[in-house]
Amino acid sequence: MAYYLLLPVLSILVVALQTTIADIIFSGRLVIEISLIAVIYAGFRLDLFKGSILAFVFGFVFDCLVSSVIGLFTLIYLIIFVASYAVSLITDTQKLRLVALWGFVFALVEEALVILFYNLILRFDAMASIPFVFLPQAMVIGLFTPVFFYLMRRLEVYIYGKPLHRLERGGDSRISAEI
């Protein structure tokens, strides 16, 4: 229950924090989307029920605070959660190099979906932003994803006494997010 109560507060904190960090490090040119990394983490490590709620809440908060089109990132985060969950069934999510690669790939997927939406629905050509905004941002996310996973692993050790090794390919020994 604590998980569901803490999730909205945590998501607001994360989204507000990621903009502040981006402002300090990149002078606002790029955003370290910790919220996206958290969604990928949820896809890799949490069960379907809790993970999908996390993706929805993070997406909605991100939409409310950052996006000009409410619902866009809610939908994208859900898609990325489902995709990362599917990937976690066939990939060893303990390997940080693979985690970095998937972080980069999912960041690209997110940006491709944003471009598609802008192009098809709003009739706005966002292709020009690919080299200036999207690619650097995907690389930043790719670099930060293993750091986030490493920190979360330390947290798992702190909470559960050891990092949980998943035996499954069916999702049985996923980490419970109950605190």
Partner: protein, 279 residues
């Protein structure tokens, strides 16, 4: 087997997808028609986030200032420590005075600007800057309790800043003119040629739909044209920084450097009424 075992979760995911799609289609239509609607949950999130954003904005400013003022002093010899401490204290005091002085100057400038225009304004402070890949948004500390409504133009002493796209009770979201989703009807002050200013993120903006036979030069000033009914006529937007005439294209390729420095935006004015009320 997987579907049978996880059917509850799959149903939940399907429901969440449907909610997201409904939200997206509803808000896309709202964006395209510029209609004004209230969203209770959106307001709630904005209100809940405001204290965190204020706190983080203050922290990040302090960190940046500390970085600039003190980090470079690391490595000074032991004998200077006492002197350094005194200098630090004096600098901090001076910084406070400077900050007060600069704020007074900014406010005086903004007040003079406010008085010079025949509109009614509400002054607001920027409490957060939020950005995604294509979004450039700031959050201000005034909301519907102060009389703000969606669609109101926002200006600073340097020129047009953007317009309100979400108004909560005590805070509001401003879509900056450099947001890639923002379009403003503008004209060139010198030639009166009309076009559309489209945001290009931190690269400034582009002036679109100016035909090749128009006279446009670098340095030309761009102002709002008053068309479209969102922004009043004559607000300063920027200066033409680049003009290119391509044989293959119908229109000129023009880049505009906005007058407003969006990275240093601290106080803004929200235009609440077209004409000042007679006293």
């Amino acid at each position: 087997m997987f579907i049978f075992r996880h059917y509850k979760s799959l149903v939940l995911i399907a429901v969440l997808f449907i909610i997201a799609i409904i939200m997206l289609s509803y808000n896309t239509r709202r964006l395209q028609t510029d209609s004004q609607t209230d969203g209770f949950f959106r307001k709630l999130v904005l209100e809940a986030a405001a204290p965190f954003q204020k706190l983080m904005h203050i922290s990040s400013t302090s960190i940046s200032e500390s970085w600039e003022k003190y980090v470079y002093l690391v490595g000074v010899v032991e004998e200077n420590k006492k002197l350094e401490k005194t200098v630090g204290e004096l600098e901090a005091e001076l910084l406070r005075y400077k900050e007060g002085h600069l704020e007074a100057q900014r406010l005086a400038k903004i007040l003079a600007f406010k008085e010079s225009l025949p509109y009614d304004f509400i002054a607001a402070r920027v409490i957060a800057k939020e950005q995604a890949a294509l979004s450039k948004i700031v959050i201000i500390d005034k909301g519907s309790f102060d009389g703000l409504r969606i669609g109101m133009p926002v200006v600073s002493s340097a020129g047009l800043v953007g317009r309100l796209i979400d108004v909560s009770w005590n805070v509001a979201k401003v879509l900056l003119i450099i947001d890639e989703n923002s379009n403003v009807d503008v004209m060139l002050q010198r030639t009166r040629a009309q076009g559309i200013f489209s945001g290009m993120g931190y690269r400034g903006g582009a002036l679109k739909y100016i035909t090749k036979n128009q006279d446009v030069a670098e340095g030309d000033e761009v102002i709002s044209s008053g068309m479209g009914g969102v922004f009043p006529k004559g607000l300063m937007i920027g200066r033409v920084s680049f003009v290119e005439k391509l044989d293959t294209e119908l229109f000129l390729r023009i880049r505009v450097a906005p007058y407003v420095d969006f990275s240093k935006l601290e106080e803004v004015l929200v235009l609440v009424a077209e004409e000042k009320r007679r006293k």
